[in-house]
């Protein structure tokens, strides 16, 4: 499985590549942010403070027109004046239209993205890998059927299929208690993490086919190897052969694909949240959708900042994927997955 040769290659590629270091740094940063969100976020990301809405990020100021009613010489008059809104050091990335702290929302958004990305990938792999291995190993009818299912599945764009399924099934979400808050370590933070479970299931169902294709290809090329034949001659049954001999040797390209898939699913999740198909309101895509309404009125940061967060996460994961691919197997094709 993970031999010392593999580890040596990983280290060698890592030392030689600045991009691999950047990728690892970004992924570690985002993972830590997601895990320790209650301690990193300065405010509760869902707390609305309407008197502090639309504050620009640190270093920026905004001039807007504010219309107020005033008593002038005993009469009520509406007065329009230019007001300069300056940043509040308490809100590094500014606040959104409802006065929620953007920095805290970005921090908490990392949780949604990462959890959906990882769980969705695990689900897709746990459907796709067994199906692909069985089909590639046994060939014949099972394989033909799988390939046809894969063809049909590929004919629907991931996003379109996901939107259709969520539209039909509804947007279910599960409240998962936040252990840090339950333990009383960060009492002012949200008590639970809202897991958009339908999104996880749907992205798993939509993307399993990429894993099935890769696993099948590996099983097809491995089934004729000498050690597999030897094992069969010694009386090992098919399932044992698949588990002991095929899977460990097929794991490398599956891991590389898994990395790319986490990035692809993060992009897919953000698209779904943007279109309002998510089930959680604490997500980068959702915030971009909110911020879109403020683009023409000058509050550029509400839509921009969450998008930068998505971009940095996906860049980090893609760099990590490139590193793994170069180190583990230079022969693997790079562009699997769909956004």
């Amino acid at each position: 499985m993970v031999s010392s040769r593999v580890i040596r290659n990983l280290k060698k590629e890592f030392r030689g590549s600045g991009l691999a270091k950047l990728g690892l740094a970004l992924v570690v940063l985002i993972t830590l942010t997601a895990v320790f969100a209650p301690f990193i976020a300065p405010h509760n990301p869902t707390d609305q403070q309407l008197d502090q809405s639309e504050l620009p990020p640190i270093g920026f100021s905004e001039t807007t027109e504010r219309t107020t009613s005033q008593m002038v010489d005993g009469e009520i008059q509406t007065v329009t004046e230019e007001v300069e809104i300056t940043a509040d050091p308490d809100h590094v990335f500014g606040t959104d239209g409802l006065g929620r702290d953007m920095f805290s929302r970005v921090v908490y958004g990392a949780r949604t993205s990462l959890v959906v990305g990882v769980l969705g990938t695990v689900l897709a792999a746990s459907i796709g890998v067994p199906v692909g291995l069985l089909a590639g190993y046994h060939r014949g009818r099972v394989d033909d059927a799988l390939m046809r299912i894969a063809d049909v599945s590929l004919a629907f764009p991931s996003l379109v299929l996901a939107v259709a399924l969520i539209g039909l099934w509804g947007r279910a979400a599960v409240d998962v208690p936040d252990p840090f808050v339950v333990a009383g370590l960060a009492p002012e933070m949200p008590e639970s993490f809202v897991l958009p479970i339908t999104v996880v299931i749907v992205v798993g169902l939509v993307n399993w086919v990429w894993f099935a294709r890769v696993a099948r290809g590996e099983a097809l090329s491995l089934r004729g190897q000498e050690y597999v034949k030897a094992s069969r001659a010694l009386g090992a049954d098919d399932n044992t052969i698949i588990l002991r001999h095929i899977l460990p040797n097929a794991i490398t390209p599956i891991i590389v694909l898994g990395t790319v898939q986490v990035a692809a699913i993060i992009l897919l999740e953000s698209s779904l949240s943007f279109l309002g198909f998510s089930g959680t309101t604490l997500s980068w895509g959702f915030d971009i959708a909110q911020g879109r309404d403020y683009v023409s009125s000058g509050q550029w940061w509400i839509a921009s900042i969450p998008g930068l967060a998505i971009m940095l996460s996906v860049i980090g994961i893609n760099l990590l994927g490139d590193w793994l691919r170069d180190a583990l197997d230079p022969g693997i094709e790079g562009e699997g997955g769909a956004a």
Binding site: A155, P157, V160, W169, G285, V295, I310, M311, A338, A339
Partner: protein
């Protein structure tokens, strides 16, 4: 196997896949918790009304009858009636399709025109600043959500500089062509068309630009290290000729296959790009249909999207087999 037999076999396979697509779309109706009747019937409808609606929609028939009827209707080009828009779904879908095709083609043109030279330059000047620049650009491109890119383009070019339109389609590409025939101001029509399509085309095309740049770069690096390139160099052929005629041609064949498979991503991307720019295409129809629980319109859109994917991929495979006859024997 001859080329003709390969093309025939691939087409028959395609028909099988389209049949699968239709079956999946038909089945979608039955995984719905809110049945089709709820979408049409008023909330306070009596049991009789609901039964009448079910009978009218054919929902009281056994499943296999409904399925047979569905396939039969499809073969006649009948995809039913939209619940909400009161229009034939076939007419509705095909009225939206041209806008999506236009957007997808424009995005592909933006992508290909920029990506292929970028990929070639990147490969021929490996590890020079230009290569690093192209690598970073393509890394950013495959990592940027296209809807966000669209909003950023609106922010910069429409809100700040007020150059482009951000919503709707203006004129279609046919109007631009017709303006020549009708002696209308061609430049004016062309500019209007560009004002509407430029930003969505860039938003949608950037991911593919990045993807094609990466594929072209790695493919070119591969080809340039091969024996025939060295032979051509030893023969004294001009570098440009070797790069663009020999190496690039061999690079593009696998690139085209990957692009065929990524057509789904292109259509998926179009759905969300259309939502950002209120582009009146199939993507907006999909979202509208879901939000209004208009299942026939959704089913019709899905069938057309799935079928287009299958058709384009058959075309890609057949062209591939024509260019590279070895594929036929695989």
């Amino acid at each position: 196997m001859s080329f003709g037999r390969f093309a025939l076999k691939r087409s028959l396979q395609g028909i099988g896949v389209v049949w699968g697509v239709v079956t999946v779309v038909f089945a979608l109706r039955f995984v719905t918790p809110g049945s089709a009747i709820n979408a049409v019937a008023p909330l306070d409808a009596s049991q009789e009304t609901r039964q009448a609606i079910a009978a009218e929609l054919g929902l009281d028939q056994p499943l296999y009858v409904q399925y047979g009827q569905y396939i039969f209707d499809l073969l006649r080009g009948d995809m039913g009636q939209s619940y909400i828009k009161g229009q034939e779904v076939t007419a509705l879908v095909f009225s939206r399709l041209p806008a999506t095709v236009e957007l997808a083609v424009a995005a592909s043109v933006v992508a290909i025109v920029l990506a292929i030279p970028l990929g070639v330059i990147s490969a021929t000047r490996r590890n020079e600043p230009v290569d690093y620049g192209a690598t970073l650009l393509s890394l950013g491109g495959i990592s940027t959500p296209n809807f966000w890119l669209g909003i950023m383009l609106i922010l910069i070019f429409a809100v700040e500089f007020n150059i482009f339109n951000t919503s709707g389609r203006g004129v279609d590409v046919g109007d631009v062509a017709l303006s020549v025939v009708n002696a209308e101001p061609f430049v004016g029509t062309l500019l209007t068309w560009l004002a509407y399509i430029t930003l969505p085309a860039i938003a949608l095309g950037t991911y593919f630009m990045a993807l094609i740049t990466r594929l072209t770069r790695s493919g070119m690096l591969d080809e340039l290290s091969k024996g025939y390139v060295q032979a051509a160099r030893a023969k004294g052929l001009p570098r440009t000729l070797i790069r663009y005629k020999h190496a690039l041609r061999n690079t593009l064949i696998p690139v085209i296959t990957v692009l065929g498979l990524q057509l789904g991503t292109l259509i998926g991307g179009a759905v969300i790009t259309e939502a950002v720019f209120s582009w009146p295409g199939l993507g907006t129809l999909v979202i509208e249909s879901i939000n209004q629980r208009d299942w026939p319109a959704l089913q019709g859109s899905l069938i057309v999207i799935g079928t287009s994917f299958v058709l384009v991929n058959i075309l890609v495979d057949v062209v591939y087999a024509y260019l590279d006859p070895e594929v036929v024997n695989d």
